[in-house]
Symmetry: C2
Subunit: 136 residues, 2 copies
Amino acid sequence: MLSKKTKYGIKALTFLARQEDQTPVAIADIAKSETISLKFLESILLLLRHSGFLGAKKGKGGGYYLIKEPKDINMAHVYRILEGPIALLPCASHNFYEPCADCSDETTCAVRKLMTEVRDNTLLILENNTLADIAF
Amino acid sequence: MLSKKTKYGIKALTFLARQEDQTPVAIADIAKSETISLKFLESILLLLRHSGFLGAKKGKGGGYYLIKEPKDINMAHVYRILEGPIALLPCASHNFYEPCADCSDETTCAVRKLMTEVRDNTLLILENNTLADIAF
DNA sequence: ATATAATCTACTATTCCGATGGGGTAATAG
DNA sequence: CTATTACCCCATCGGAATAGTAGATTATAT
């Protein structure tokens, strides 16, 4: 299951992508419009800023805004930042690989075989979707 | 992330599928071979029996065995029993559908759009894989 | 100067997972 | 009959992760 963090993060990105111009939007406005806990959203937007998706402006009239164009924001990238590994098992992950303690032979593990196939396909879909694809 | 319950369940099914003949295998034997907590595995196998995948035989020489042939065991079915919904969001699930409390309009929700695409694809893969496909 | 709004740290409450252990019942092989 | 093994229910427990909260600080527009 997708965490609320990821869900809220994508919703916020979508909200910003759907803005007319790219003037900063206050956290409170996004939170209200998308029904998200203000403080929780705060931490998510901060993470997205540190990850290079968003810019921020402090003070009156400040807020967050997209740094890149929606069509240049890859959803696999977003997913990895917010949710973590795309694979359902650490042993089937590229970016977050970890062996299973209970697995004697990875090459004959049926679970890994299946989850690797799922992973490859999910990755393909996420990589082929940009923020523009899902927001519009 | 896949729960250990699902992981262990699939490993147990695989173990049974790889048996020479279909004489019952004691829980303890599976647990030892696959490094799974005995009591935990017990509850998983019970669930798989109630779901029609396994048969059980009590008493000496008893244990669990596959009821159907591995090629007739669909991994999407197994996944739903052990893990639950295939979709990463309840609003993108067929069998476990639930609307999001925070979502005003499902049809324009970008997260749902993306997760539906992921779901459709994952389902396709799970449905096209049988226990025989991953065990051998 | 003042109000606004992001930043950052730290904290809390709740929930779930994986596992453990107890205890007893029912079926079956020898 | 006896040993074995599945069945079944329950209670607990630590640890991790989620989701959300509080409060103080910093930057900026007016």
